[in-house]
Protein backbone atom coordinates (compact mmCIF):
# COMPACT_ATOMS: atom_id res chain seq x y z
CA UNK A 1 0.00 0.00 0.00
CA UNK A 2 1.23 3.43 -0.77
CA UNK A 3 -0.23 5.04 2.33
CA UNK A 4 1.73 8.21 2.56
CA UNK A 5 3.93 8.71 5.56
CA UNK A 6 4.36 12.09 7.17
CA UNK A 7 2.30 13.87 9.80
CA UNK A 8 0.17 16.97 9.59
CA UNK A 9 -1.92 15.65 6.70
CA UNK A 10 -4.44 13.75 8.77
CA UNK A 11 -7.35 15.80 7.48
CA UNK A 12 -6.50 15.41 3.79
CA UNK A 13 -8.30 12.10 3.09
CA UNK A 14 -11.43 13.35 4.82
CA UNK A 15 -11.43 16.56 2.80
CA UNK A 16 -10.93 14.89 -0.59
CA UNK A 17 -13.33 12.10 0.25
CA UNK A 18 -16.00 14.43 1.62
CA UNK A 19 -17.94 15.45 -1.54
CA UNK A 20 -18.23 11.86 -2.74
CA UNK A 21 -18.98 10.56 0.73
CA UNK A 22 -21.76 13.11 1.13
CA UNK A 23 -23.17 12.34 -2.30
CA UNK A 24 -23.27 8.61 -1.57
CA UNK A 25 -24.72 9.22 1.89
CA UNK A 26 -27.50 11.50 0.66
CA UNK A 27 -28.31 9.75 -2.62
CA UNK A 28 -27.58 6.11 -1.83
CA UNK A 29 -27.58 5.29 1.90
CA UNK A 30 -30.32 7.67 3.07
CA UNK A 31 -32.70 6.74 0.19
CA UNK A 32 -32.53 3.10 1.26
CA UNK A 33 -33.37 4.08 4.84
CA UNK A 34 -36.17 6.31 3.56
CA UNK A 35 -37.48 3.39 1.52
CA UNK A 36 -37.42 1.20 4.63
CA UNK A 37 -39.36 3.83 6.54
CA UNK A 38 -41.81 4.31 3.66
CA UNK A 39 -42.46 0.57 3.57
CA UNK A 40 -43.84 0.79 7.12
CA UNK A 41 -46.13 3.75 6.48
CA UNK A 42 -49.80 3.83 5.70
CA UNK A 43 -52.08 6.33 4.02
CA UNK A 44 -52.70 7.31 0.43
CA UNK A 45 -51.14 9.51 -2.22
CA UNK A 46 -53.67 12.35 -1.81
CA UNK A 47 -53.60 12.77 1.97
CA UNK A 48 -50.03 11.72 2.51
CA UNK A 49 -48.43 8.81 4.31
CA UNK A 50 -47.69 8.42 8.01
CA UNK A 51 -45.31 6.09 9.78
CA UNK A 52 -47.41 3.49 11.60
CA UNK A 53 -45.23 0.36 11.72
CA UNK A 54 -47.49 -0.97 9.00
CA UNK A 55 -46.03 -4.44 8.64
CA UNK A 56 -49.16 -5.31 6.72
CA UNK A 57 -47.50 -3.82 3.63
CA UNK A 58 -45.12 -6.73 3.62
CA UNK A 59 -47.92 -9.24 4.10
CA UNK A 60 -49.85 -7.56 1.29
CA UNK A 61 -46.82 -7.55 -0.98
CA UNK A 62 -46.44 -11.29 -0.57
CA UNK A 63 -50.15 -12.03 -0.74
CA UNK A 64 -50.75 -10.06 -3.95
CA UNK A 65 -47.53 -10.67 -5.79
CA UNK A 66 -45.98 -13.94 -4.61
CA UNK A 67 -46.48 -15.37 -8.12
CA UNK A 68 -44.29 -12.67 -9.65
CA UNK A 69 -41.74 -13.01 -6.84
CA UNK A 70 -41.41 -16.73 -7.37
CA UNK A 71 -41.43 -16.34 -11.15
CA UNK A 72 -38.54 -13.86 -10.94
CA UNK A 73 -36.49 -16.22 -8.82
CA UNK A 74 -37.26 -19.18 -11.10
CA UNK A 75 -36.37 -17.17 -14.23
CA UNK A 76 -33.17 -16.00 -12.59
CA UNK A 77 -32.21 -19.58 -11.70
CA UNK A 78 -32.90 -20.83 -15.23
CA UNK A 79 -31.10 -17.91 -16.87
CA UNK A 80 -28.08 -18.24 -14.58
CA UNK A 81 -27.87 -21.97 -15.34
CA UNK A 82 -28.19 -21.37 -19.08
CA UNK A 83 -25.57 -18.62 -19.00
CA UNK A 84 -23.16 -20.84 -17.10
CA UNK A 85 -23.64 -23.74 -19.51
CA UNK A 86 -23.33 -21.52 -22.60
CA UNK A 87 -20.44 -19.41 -21.33
CA UNK A 88 -18.15 -22.05 -19.87
CA UNK A 89 -17.08 -23.80 -23.12
CA UNK A 90 -16.46 -20.41 -24.74
CA UNK A 91 -14.46 -19.02 -21.83
CA UNK A 92 -12.52 -22.30 -21.61
CA UNK A 93 -11.58 -22.36 -25.26
CA UNK A 94 -10.59 -18.69 -25.38
CA UNK A 95 -8.54 -18.94 -22.18
CA UNK A 96 -6.64 -22.08 -23.20
CA UNK A 97 -6.60 -21.99 -26.99
CA UNK A 98 -7.28 -18.35 -27.87
CA UNK A 99 -3.60 -17.75 -28.49
CA UNK A 100 -2.69 -14.26 -29.61
CA UNK A 101 -6.30 -13.44 -30.47
CA UNK A 102 -7.74 -13.71 -26.96
CA UNK A 103 -8.40 -9.98 -26.72
CA UNK A 104 -10.17 -10.00 -30.08
CA UNK A 105 -12.50 -12.82 -29.05
CA UNK A 106 -13.34 -11.06 -25.79
CA UNK A 107 -13.96 -7.83 -27.65
CA UNK A 108 -16.38 -9.61 -30.00
CA UNK A 109 -18.21 -11.10 -27.03
CA UNK A 110 -18.50 -7.67 -25.44
CA UNK A 111 -19.83 -6.04 -28.64
CA UNK A 112 -23.45 -6.05 -27.37
CA UNK A 113 -22.39 -3.64 -24.63
CA UNK A 114 -21.80 -1.00 -27.28
CA UNK A 115 -25.48 -1.02 -28.14
CA UNK A 116 -28.01 0.43 -25.76
CA UNK A 117 -29.59 -2.25 -23.54
CA UNK A 118 -33.11 -1.19 -24.55
CA UNK A 119 -32.28 -1.21 -28.28
CA UNK A 120 -30.70 -4.67 -28.03
CA UNK A 121 -33.84 -5.99 -26.41
CA UNK A 122 -36.07 -4.16 -28.90
CA UNK A 123 -34.01 -5.74 -31.65
CA UNK A 124 -34.85 -9.19 -30.27
CA UNK A 125 -38.51 -8.24 -30.22
CA UNK A 126 -38.13 -7.41 -33.88
CA UNK A 127 -36.34 -10.69 -34.65
CA UNK A 128 -38.83 -12.84 -32.74
CA UNK A 129 -41.89 -11.05 -34.11
CA UNK A 130 -44.83 -13.24 -35.20
CA UNK A 131 -44.07 -12.48 -38.84
CA UNK A 132 -40.42 -11.58 -38.23
CA UNK A 133 -37.07 -12.89 -39.41
CA UNK A 134 -37.31 -16.23 -37.61
CA UNK A 135 -40.99 -17.11 -37.44
CA UNK A 136 -42.03 -15.55 -40.78
CA UNK A 137 -40.07 -17.90 -43.07
CA UNK A 138 -40.86 -20.93 -40.89
CA UNK A 139 -44.57 -20.15 -41.10
CA UNK A 140 -44.39 -19.50 -44.84
CA UNK A 141 -42.76 -22.87 -45.29
CA UNK A 142 -45.55 -24.45 -43.30
CA UNK A 143 -43.22 -25.70 -40.58
CA UNK A 144 -45.09 -23.82 -37.89
CA UNK A 145 -48.80 -23.14 -37.43
CA UNK A 146 -49.86 -19.60 -38.29
CA UNK A 147 -50.84 -18.74 -34.75
CA UNK A 148 -47.52 -19.79 -33.25
CA UNK A 149 -45.83 -17.03 -31.36
CA UNK A 150 -42.74 -16.51 -29.24
CA UNK A 151 -43.26 -12.98 -27.94
CA UNK A 152 -45.13 -12.72 -24.64
CA UNK A 153 -43.96 -16.22 -23.65
CA UNK A 154 -41.48 -17.17 -20.95
CA UNK A 155 -39.23 -18.54 -23.70
CA UNK A 156 -38.83 -15.05 -25.17
CA UNK A 157 -38.20 -13.43 -21.78
CA UNK A 158 -35.70 -16.09 -20.69
CA UNK A 159 -34.03 -15.90 -24.10
CA UNK A 160 -33.71 -12.11 -23.88
CA UNK A 161 -32.37 -12.25 -20.34
CA UNK A 162 -29.85 -14.93 -21.31
CA UNK A 163 -28.66 -12.89 -24.26
CA UNK A 164 -28.31 -9.69 -22.24
CA UNK A 165 -26.47 -11.19 -19.27
CA UNK A 166 -24.32 -13.83 -20.97
CA UNK A 167 -21.26 -11.55 -21.35
CA UNK A 168 -21.37 -10.95 -17.58
CA UNK A 169 -20.90 -14.68 -17.10
CA UNK A 170 -18.15 -15.08 -19.72
CA UNK A 171 -15.86 -12.45 -18.22
CA UNK A 172 -15.31 -13.83 -14.68
CA UNK A 173 -15.08 -17.39 -16.04
CA UNK A 174 -12.47 -16.29 -18.54
CA UNK A 175 -10.45 -14.45 -15.89
CA UNK A 176 -10.44 -17.51 -13.61
CA UNK A 177 -9.59 -19.97 -16.40
CA UNK A 178 -6.93 -17.74 -17.87
CA UNK A 179 -5.12 -17.69 -14.54
CA UNK A 180 -4.73 -21.48 -14.46
CA UNK A 181 -1.16 -22.49 -15.18
CA UNK A 182 -1.25 -24.78 -18.26
CA UNK A 183 1.61 -26.81 -16.77
CA UNK A 184 -0.81 -28.06 -14.12
CA UNK A 185 -2.90 -29.64 -16.86
CA UNK A 186 0.23 -31.10 -18.43
CA UNK A 187 1.25 -32.49 -15.07
CA UNK A 188 -2.14 -34.20 -14.80
CA UNK A 189 -1.63 -35.74 -18.22
CA UNK A 190 1.87 -36.85 -17.27
CA UNK A 191 0.28 -38.61 -14.35
CA UNK A 192 -1.95 -40.47 -16.83
CA UNK A 193 -5.10 -38.47 -16.22
CA UNK A 194 -7.46 -38.63 -19.16
CA UNK A 195 -8.58 -35.32 -20.62
CA UNK A 196 -11.94 -35.68 -18.92
CA UNK A 197 -10.51 -36.39 -15.50
CA UNK A 198 -7.85 -33.66 -15.90
CA UNK A 199 -10.68 -31.27 -16.56
CA UNK A 200 -12.84 -32.57 -13.74
CA UNK A 201 -10.11 -32.73 -11.11
CA UNK A 202 -7.80 -29.88 -12.07
CA UNK A 203 -9.31 -27.27 -14.38
CA UNK A 204 -12.86 -27.15 -13.09
CA UNK A 205 -12.01 -26.87 -9.35
CA UNK A 206 -9.52 -24.12 -10.13
CA UNK A 207 -12.15 -22.21 -12.09
CA UNK A 208 -14.67 -22.25 -9.23
CA UNK A 209 -13.95 -18.68 -8.10
CA UNK A 210 -14.96 -17.57 -11.60
CA UNK A 211 -18.12 -19.69 -11.48
CA UNK A 212 -18.95 -18.17 -8.11
CA UNK A 213 -18.44 -14.60 -9.32
CA UNK A 214 -20.25 -15.23 -12.59
CA UNK A 215 -23.30 -16.70 -10.87
CA UNK A 216 -23.58 -13.74 -8.49
CA UNK A 217 -23.01 -11.14 -11.18
CA UNK A 218 -25.75 -12.73 -13.32
CA UNK A 219 -28.34 -13.83 -10.77
CA UNK A 220 -28.82 -10.52 -8.92
CA UNK A 221 -29.54 -8.28 -11.93
CA UNK A 222 -31.61 -10.94 -13.70
CA UNK A 223 -33.89 -11.45 -10.70
CA UNK A 224 -34.61 -7.71 -10.57
CA UNK A 225 -34.74 -7.07 -14.32
CA UNK A 226 -37.92 -5.71 -15.82
CA UNK A 227 -36.80 -4.47 -19.22
CA UNK A 228 -36.78 -7.90 -20.86
CA UNK A 229 -40.18 -8.96 -19.62
CA UNK A 230 -41.46 -5.43 -20.32
CA UNK A 231 -40.41 -5.57 -23.98
CA UNK A 232 -40.47 -9.27 -24.83
CA UNK A 233 -43.00 -10.57 -22.34
CA UNK A 234 -46.71 -10.40 -21.70
CA UNK A 235 -49.10 -10.61 -18.78
CA UNK A 236 -48.06 -14.20 -18.06
CA UNK A 237 -44.36 -13.33 -17.71
CA UNK A 238 -44.54 -10.30 -15.42
CA UNK A 239 -41.58 -10.18 -13.07
CA UNK A 240 -41.37 -8.53 -9.69
CA UNK A 241 -39.46 -5.57 -11.19
CA UNK A 242 -42.39 -4.81 -13.49
CA UNK A 243 -44.75 -4.92 -10.53
CA UNK A 244 -42.57 -2.62 -8.43
CA UNK A 245 -42.30 -0.11 -11.29
CA UNK A 246 -46.05 -0.15 -11.92
CA UNK A 247 -47.03 0.14 -8.26
CA UNK A 248 -44.61 3.05 -7.75
CA UNK A 249 -45.40 4.99 -10.89
CA UNK A 250 -48.97 4.10 -11.81
CA UNK A 251 -50.77 3.02 -8.62
CA UNK A 252 -48.76 5.44 -6.45
CA UNK A 253 -49.01 2.98 -3.57
CA UNK A 254 -45.54 3.90 -2.35
CA UNK A 255 -45.55 1.91 0.91
CA UNK A 256 -46.51 -1.30 -0.88
CA UNK A 257 -43.93 -0.69 -3.62
CA UNK A 258 -41.23 0.05 -1.03
CA UNK A 259 -42.10 -3.10 0.87
CA UNK A 260 -41.73 -5.11 -2.34
CA UNK A 261 -38.38 -3.54 -3.18
CA UNK A 262 -37.20 -4.29 0.32
CA UNK A 263 -38.43 -7.87 0.19
CA UNK A 264 -36.61 -8.34 -3.09
CA UNK A 265 -33.42 -6.81 -1.71
CA UNK A 266 -33.63 -8.92 1.46
CA UNK A 267 -34.30 -12.09 -0.52
CA UNK A 268 -31.31 -11.41 -2.75
CA UNK A 269 -29.05 -10.61 0.22
CA UNK A 270 -30.07 -13.75 2.09
CA UNK A 271 -29.61 -15.75 -1.09
CA UNK A 272 -26.16 -14.32 -1.75
CA UNK A 273 -25.13 -14.89 1.85
CA UNK A 274 -26.33 -18.49 2.01
CA UNK A 275 -24.78 -19.22 -1.36
CA UNK A 276 -21.48 -17.71 -0.30
CA UNK A 277 -21.52 -19.69 2.92
CA UNK A 278 -22.57 -22.96 1.36
CA UNK A 279 -20.46 -22.97 -1.76
CA UNK A 280 -18.48 -19.84 -2.20
CA UNK A 281 -16.03 -18.74 0.41
CA UNK A 282 -15.08 -22.12 1.81
CA UNK A 283 -14.59 -23.79 -1.50
CA UNK A 284 -12.89 -20.75 -2.92
CA UNK A 285 -10.58 -20.54 0.06
CA UNK A 286 -9.85 -24.24 -0.10
CA UNK A 287 -8.96 -24.07 -3.77
CA UNK A 288 -6.69 -21.11 -3.37
CA UNK A 289 -4.82 -22.83 -0.56
CA UNK A 290 -4.01 -25.91 -2.61
Amino acid sequence: MSARAGGGRGLAPYLIGLPGGLWLAVFFVIPILVMLSLSLQSGNAEEGFRFTWAWSNYADAWEFYSTQFIRSIVYALIVTGLCLALAYPMAYWIAFYGGARKSTYLFLILLPFFVSFVIRTASWKFILNDQGLVLGPLKDAGLLPDDFHLLATSTAVIGGLTYNYLPFMVLPLYVALERIDPSLVEAAHDLFASRASAFRRVVFPLSLPGVFAGVLITFVPVASDFVNSGILGGTQTTMIGNVIQTVYLNSNDYPLASAMSFLLMAALLVGIFTYARALGTEQVMEVSQR
Binding site: M1, S2, R4, A12, Y14, I16, G17, P19, G20, G21, W23, L24, F27, F28, V29, I32, V34, S37, L38, P89, M90, Y92, W93, Y97, R101, K102, S103, Y105, L106, L111, F114, V115, S116, F117, V118, T121, A122, S123, F126, I127, N129, Q131, E178, V185, S194, R195, S224, D225, F226, V227, I231, I244, Q245, Y248, L249, Y254, S258, S261, M265, L268
Partner: protein
Amino acid sequence: MTAIATREAPPEVAPAPAVPGRRRWTRRILPAYTWLMICYFSLPILVMIVFGFNDTTGKLNLRWQGFTLNWYRNLFDNPGLTAALRNSLLIALISTVLSTIIGTMIGLALGRYRFRGKNVYDLVIFSAISAPELVLGASLLSLFITVQFQRGFVTIVVAHVAFSLAFVAVTVRARVLGLDPTLEEAAQDLGADHWTTFRKITLPLLAPGIVAGALLAFALSIDDYVVTSFVNGQVETFPIWVYGATRVGVPPQVNVMGTLIFLGGVAIAVGNAVLARRQRA
Protein backbone atom coordinates in the same frame (compact mmCIF):
# COMPACT_ATOMS: atom_id res chain seq x y z
CA MET B 1 -12.12 -2.10 -22.12
CA THR B 2 -8.58 -1.76 -20.87
CA ALA B 3 -8.81 -5.11 -19.13
CA ILE B 4 -9.09 -6.80 -22.49
CA ALA B 5 -6.19 -5.04 -24.04
CA THR B 6 -3.72 -5.35 -21.23
CA ARG B 7 -3.08 -9.08 -21.14
CA GLU B 8 -1.39 -10.78 -23.98
CA ALA B 9 -1.64 -14.47 -24.46
CA PRO B 10 0.99 -16.84 -23.11
CA PRO B 11 2.11 -19.33 -25.74
CA GLU B 12 -0.66 -21.64 -26.80
CA VAL B 13 -1.14 -24.72 -24.68
CA ALA B 14 -0.10 -27.80 -26.53
CA PRO B 15 -3.12 -30.09 -26.72
CA ALA B 16 -2.44 -33.27 -24.83
CA PRO B 17 -0.65 -35.64 -27.14
CA ALA B 18 -1.92 -38.69 -25.31
CA VAL B 19 -5.25 -39.08 -27.11
CA PRO B 20 -4.95 -37.69 -30.64
CA GLY B 21 -8.50 -38.58 -31.63
CA ARG B 22 -9.94 -36.21 -29.06
CA ARG B 23 -8.21 -33.19 -30.50
CA ARG B 24 -11.25 -32.37 -32.53
CA TRP B 25 -12.80 -30.92 -29.38
CA THR B 26 -10.26 -28.14 -29.19
CA ARG B 27 -9.55 -27.97 -32.92
CA ARG B 28 -13.06 -28.01 -34.32
CA ILE B 29 -15.97 -28.22 -31.93
CA LEU B 30 -15.06 -25.54 -29.38
CA PRO B 31 -13.84 -22.97 -31.92
CA ALA B 32 -16.93 -23.56 -34.05
CA TYR B 33 -19.08 -23.15 -30.97
CA THR B 34 -17.32 -19.94 -29.95
CA TRP B 35 -17.79 -18.43 -33.41
CA LEU B 36 -21.41 -19.49 -33.42
CA MET B 37 -21.91 -17.69 -30.10
CA ILE B 38 -20.16 -14.61 -31.48
CA CYS B 39 -22.63 -14.65 -34.38
CA TYR B 40 -25.45 -14.92 -31.85
CA PHE B 41 -24.03 -11.96 -29.93
CA SER B 42 -23.85 -9.93 -33.13
CA LEU B 43 -27.26 -10.84 -34.57
CA PRO B 44 -29.35 -8.09 -32.90
CA ILE B 45 -26.62 -5.55 -33.64
CA LEU B 46 -26.58 -6.55 -37.30
CA VAL B 47 -30.37 -6.34 -37.47
CA MET B 48 -30.27 -2.88 -35.88
CA ILE B 49 -27.72 -1.63 -38.42
CA VAL B 50 -29.35 -3.21 -41.49
CA PHE B 51 -32.84 -1.99 -40.70
CA GLY B 52 -31.55 1.55 -40.35
CA PHE B 53 -31.23 1.38 -44.16
CA ASN B 54 -34.71 -0.05 -44.70
CA ASP B 55 -36.86 1.87 -47.16
CA THR B 56 -40.01 1.44 -45.13
CA THR B 57 -42.93 3.74 -45.83
CA GLY B 58 -45.08 3.55 -42.73
CA LYS B 59 -44.14 4.17 -39.15
CA LEU B 60 -43.41 0.50 -38.62
CA ASN B 61 -40.07 -0.95 -39.57
CA LEU B 62 -40.85 -4.63 -39.91
CA ARG B 63 -40.12 -6.05 -43.34
CA TRP B 64 -37.22 -5.35 -45.65
CA GLN B 65 -38.41 -2.99 -48.40
CA GLY B 66 -35.18 -1.97 -50.11
CA PHE B 67 -32.15 0.15 -49.42
CA THR B 68 -32.30 3.83 -48.53
CA LEU B 69 -30.19 6.48 -46.82
CA ASN B 70 -33.37 8.37 -46.02
CA TRP B 71 -33.18 7.82 -42.26
CA TYR B 72 -29.63 9.07 -42.13
CA ARG B 73 -30.68 12.21 -44.01
CA ASN B 74 -33.77 12.74 -41.87
CA LEU B 75 -32.17 11.66 -38.62
CA PHE B 76 -33.70 14.47 -36.59
CA ASP B 77 -37.18 14.43 -38.15
CA ASN B 78 -38.81 13.00 -35.06
CA PRO B 79 -38.95 15.85 -32.53
CA GLY B 80 -39.67 13.66 -29.50
CA LEU B 81 -36.81 11.32 -30.27
CA THR B 82 -34.42 14.17 -31.01
CA ALA B 83 -35.27 15.89 -27.73
CA ALA B 84 -34.77 12.60 -25.87
CA LEU B 85 -31.37 12.07 -27.46
CA ARG B 86 -30.37 15.66 -26.63
CA ASN B 87 -31.46 15.13 -23.01
CA SER B 88 -29.47 11.91 -22.82
CA LEU B 89 -26.31 13.50 -24.18
CA LEU B 90 -26.62 16.51 -21.90
CA ILE B 91 -27.33 14.38 -18.82
CA ALA B 92 -24.46 12.03 -19.67
CA LEU B 93 -22.11 14.98 -20.12
CA ILE B 94 -23.01 16.73 -16.86
CA SER B 95 -23.13 13.56 -14.77
CA THR B 96 -19.83 12.38 -16.24
CA VAL B 97 -18.07 15.62 -15.33
CA LEU B 98 -19.50 15.59 -11.80
CA SER B 99 -18.92 11.91 -11.09
CA THR B 100 -15.42 12.01 -12.57
CA ILE B 101 -14.35 14.89 -10.33
CA ILE B 102 -15.96 13.57 -7.16
CA GLY B 103 -15.12 9.94 -7.91
CA THR B 104 -11.47 10.73 -8.62
CA MET B 105 -11.25 12.49 -5.25
CA ILE B 106 -12.62 9.42 -3.46
CA GLY B 107 -10.30 7.19 -5.47
CA LEU B 108 -7.34 9.30 -4.38
CA ALA B 109 -8.41 9.28 -0.73
CA LEU B 110 -8.89 5.52 -0.72
CA GLY B 111 -5.85 4.63 -2.75
CA ARG B 112 -3.43 6.91 -1.00
CA TYR B 113 -4.38 7.25 2.63
CA ARG B 114 -5.22 5.06 5.54
CA PHE B 115 -7.83 6.77 7.64
CA ARG B 116 -10.55 6.02 10.11
CA GLY B 117 -13.81 5.27 8.36
CA LYS B 118 -12.13 3.90 5.27
CA ASN B 119 -13.95 0.59 5.73
CA VAL B 120 -17.24 2.43 5.62
CA TYR B 121 -16.29 4.01 2.30
CA ASP B 122 -15.26 0.62 0.94
CA LEU B 123 -18.49 -0.99 2.07
CA VAL B 124 -20.71 1.78 0.66
CA ILE B 125 -18.87 1.80 -2.67
CA PHE B 126 -19.06 -1.98 -2.93
CA SER B 127 -22.79 -1.90 -2.15
CA ALA B 128 -23.41 0.90 -4.64
CA ILE B 129 -21.76 -1.14 -7.37
CA SER B 130 -23.44 -4.43 -6.56
CA ALA B 131 -26.92 -3.23 -5.59
CA PRO B 132 -29.54 -4.01 -8.25
CA GLU B 133 -30.38 -0.92 -10.28
CA LEU B 134 -34.00 -1.47 -9.42
CA VAL B 135 -33.23 -0.89 -5.74
CA LEU B 136 -31.18 2.24 -6.52
CA GLY B 137 -34.03 3.66 -8.58
CA ALA B 138 -36.79 2.69 -6.18
CA SER B 139 -34.97 4.07 -3.14
CA LEU B 140 -34.14 7.37 -4.85
CA LEU B 141 -37.76 7.70 -5.90
CA SER B 142 -38.80 7.05 -2.29
CA LEU B 143 -36.50 9.88 -1.20
CA PHE B 144 -37.78 12.33 -3.81
CA ILE B 145 -41.39 11.49 -2.97
CA THR B 146 -40.79 11.90 0.76
CA VAL B 147 -39.08 15.29 0.53
CA GLN B 148 -41.48 16.24 -2.31
CA PHE B 149 -38.76 17.17 -4.73
CA GLN B 150 -39.95 17.75 -8.31
CA ARG B 151 -38.67 14.91 -10.49
CA GLY B 152 -37.04 15.77 -13.80
CA PHE B 153 -33.72 16.72 -15.32
CA VAL B 154 -32.00 17.46 -11.99
CA THR B 155 -33.07 14.23 -10.32
CA ILE B 156 -31.86 12.20 -13.31
CA VAL B 157 -28.43 13.85 -13.12
CA VAL B 158 -28.28 13.30 -9.36
CA ALA B 159 -29.16 9.62 -9.76
CA HIS B 160 -26.66 9.07 -12.56
CA VAL B 161 -23.87 10.66 -10.55
CA ALA B 162 -24.81 8.46 -7.59
CA PHE B 163 -24.38 5.20 -9.52
CA SER B 164 -21.39 6.12 -11.70
CA LEU B 165 -19.45 7.74 -8.86
CA ALA B 166 -18.54 4.38 -7.32
CA PHE B 167 -17.31 2.99 -10.65
CA VAL B 168 -15.06 6.02 -11.19
CA ALA B 169 -13.76 5.71 -7.63
CA VAL B 170 -12.68 2.06 -7.97
CA THR B 171 -11.13 2.68 -11.40
CA VAL B 172 -9.06 5.60 -10.13
CA ARG B 173 -8.16 3.81 -6.91
CA ALA B 174 -6.70 0.92 -8.90
CA ARG B 175 -4.53 3.40 -10.78
CA VAL B 176 -3.44 5.18 -7.58
CA LEU B 177 -2.38 1.87 -6.06
CA GLY B 178 -0.26 1.13 -9.10
CA LEU B 179 1.51 4.47 -8.90
CA ASP B 180 5.25 4.58 -8.20
CA PRO B 181 5.64 6.82 -5.11
CA THR B 182 9.31 7.55 -5.86
CA LEU B 183 8.28 9.73 -8.81
CA GLU B 184 6.47 12.13 -6.52
CA GLU B 185 9.27 12.03 -3.98
CA ALA B 186 11.71 12.89 -6.73
CA ALA B 187 9.61 15.92 -7.70
CA GLN B 188 9.56 17.10 -4.12
CA ASP B 189 13.30 16.56 -3.78
CA LEU B 190 13.68 18.84 -6.76
CA GLY B 191 11.83 21.55 -4.86
CA ALA B 192 8.26 21.17 -6.14
CA ASP B 193 5.58 21.97 -3.59
CA HIS B 194 2.59 19.66 -3.00
CA TRP B 195 0.34 21.37 -5.49
CA THR B 196 2.95 21.47 -8.26
CA THR B 197 3.78 17.81 -7.67
CA PHE B 198 0.13 16.94 -7.87
CA ARG B 199 -0.47 18.95 -11.03
CA LYS B 200 2.69 18.00 -12.91
CA ILE B 201 3.33 14.44 -11.72
CA THR B 202 0.37 12.78 -10.01
CA LEU B 203 -2.42 13.98 -12.28
CA PRO B 204 -0.73 13.05 -15.60
CA LEU B 205 0.12 9.61 -14.18
CA LEU B 206 -3.47 9.10 -13.05
CA ALA B 207 -4.91 10.38 -16.34
CA PRO B 208 -5.50 6.97 -18.00
CA GLY B 209 -7.45 5.80 -14.95
CA ILE B 210 -9.46 9.01 -14.82
CA VAL B 211 -10.25 8.82 -18.55
CA ALA B 212 -11.30 5.17 -18.23
CA GLY B 213 -13.55 6.09 -15.30
CA ALA B 214 -15.06 9.00 -17.23
CA LEU B 215 -15.77 6.83 -20.28
CA LEU B 216 -17.39 4.23 -18.05
CA ALA B 217 -19.52 6.91 -16.37
CA PHE B 218 -20.60 8.28 -19.75
CA ALA B 219 -21.48 4.81 -21.06
CA LEU B 220 -23.45 3.93 -17.90
CA SER B 221 -25.36 7.20 -18.01
CA ILE B 222 -26.31 7.24 -21.69
CA ASP B 223 -27.47 3.61 -21.54
CA ASP B 224 -29.41 3.73 -18.30
CA TYR B 225 -33.06 2.87 -18.44
CA VAL B 226 -33.86 1.28 -15.07
CA VAL B 227 -32.82 3.99 -12.59
CA THR B 228 -33.93 6.78 -14.92
CA SER B 229 -37.39 5.28 -15.31
CA PHE B 230 -37.97 5.83 -11.58
CA VAL B 231 -36.72 9.40 -11.26
CA ASN B 232 -37.39 11.02 -14.65
CA GLY B 233 -40.80 12.60 -13.99
CA GLN B 234 -41.89 13.95 -17.38
CA VAL B 235 -38.39 14.21 -18.87
CA GLU B 236 -37.59 11.60 -21.52
CA THR B 237 -34.11 10.27 -22.22
CA PHE B 238 -33.12 8.21 -25.25
CA PRO B 239 -33.58 4.77 -23.59
CA ILE B 240 -36.88 5.88 -22.02
CA TRP B 241 -38.18 7.06 -25.39
CA VAL B 242 -37.12 3.87 -27.15
CA TYR B 243 -38.68 1.70 -24.44
CA GLY B 244 -41.96 3.56 -24.90
CA ALA B 245 -41.67 3.18 -28.67
CA THR B 246 -41.32 -0.62 -28.48
CA ARG B 247 -45.01 -0.76 -27.66
CA VAL B 248 -46.12 1.02 -30.82
CA GLY B 249 -43.22 0.38 -33.20
CA VAL B 250 -39.68 1.67 -33.24
CA PRO B 251 -39.00 4.22 -36.03
CA PRO B 252 -35.90 3.61 -38.20
CA GLN B 253 -34.19 6.72 -36.82
CA VAL B 254 -33.68 4.79 -33.58
CA ASN B 255 -31.71 2.17 -35.54
CA VAL B 256 -29.59 4.92 -37.06
CA MET B 257 -28.88 6.59 -33.71
CA GLY B 258 -28.12 3.19 -32.17
CA THR B 259 -25.75 2.46 -35.06
CA LEU B 260 -23.95 5.78 -34.66
CA ILE B 261 -23.58 5.34 -30.88
CA PHE B 262 -22.34 1.78 -31.48
CA LEU B 263 -19.75 2.91 -34.03
CA GLY B 264 -18.62 5.75 -31.76
CA GLY B 265 -18.16 3.36 -28.84
CA VAL B 266 -16.29 0.79 -30.91
CA ALA B 267 -14.04 3.50 -32.36
CA ILE B 268 -13.13 4.74 -28.88
CA ALA B 269 -12.47 1.19 -27.60
CA VAL B 270 -10.34 0.20 -30.59
CA GLY B 271 -8.47 3.53 -30.50
CA ASN B 272 -7.83 3.01 -26.80
CA ALA B 273 -6.49 -0.51 -27.37
CA VAL B 274 -4.23 0.61 -30.22
CA LEU B 275 -2.94 3.49 -28.13
CA ALA B 276 -2.23 1.19 -25.17
CA ARG B 277 -0.38 -1.22 -27.44
CA ARG B 278 1.71 1.54 -28.97
CA GLN B 279 2.63 2.93 -25.55
CA ARG B 280 3.88 -0.45 -24.46
CA ALA B 281 5.86 -1.03 -27.63
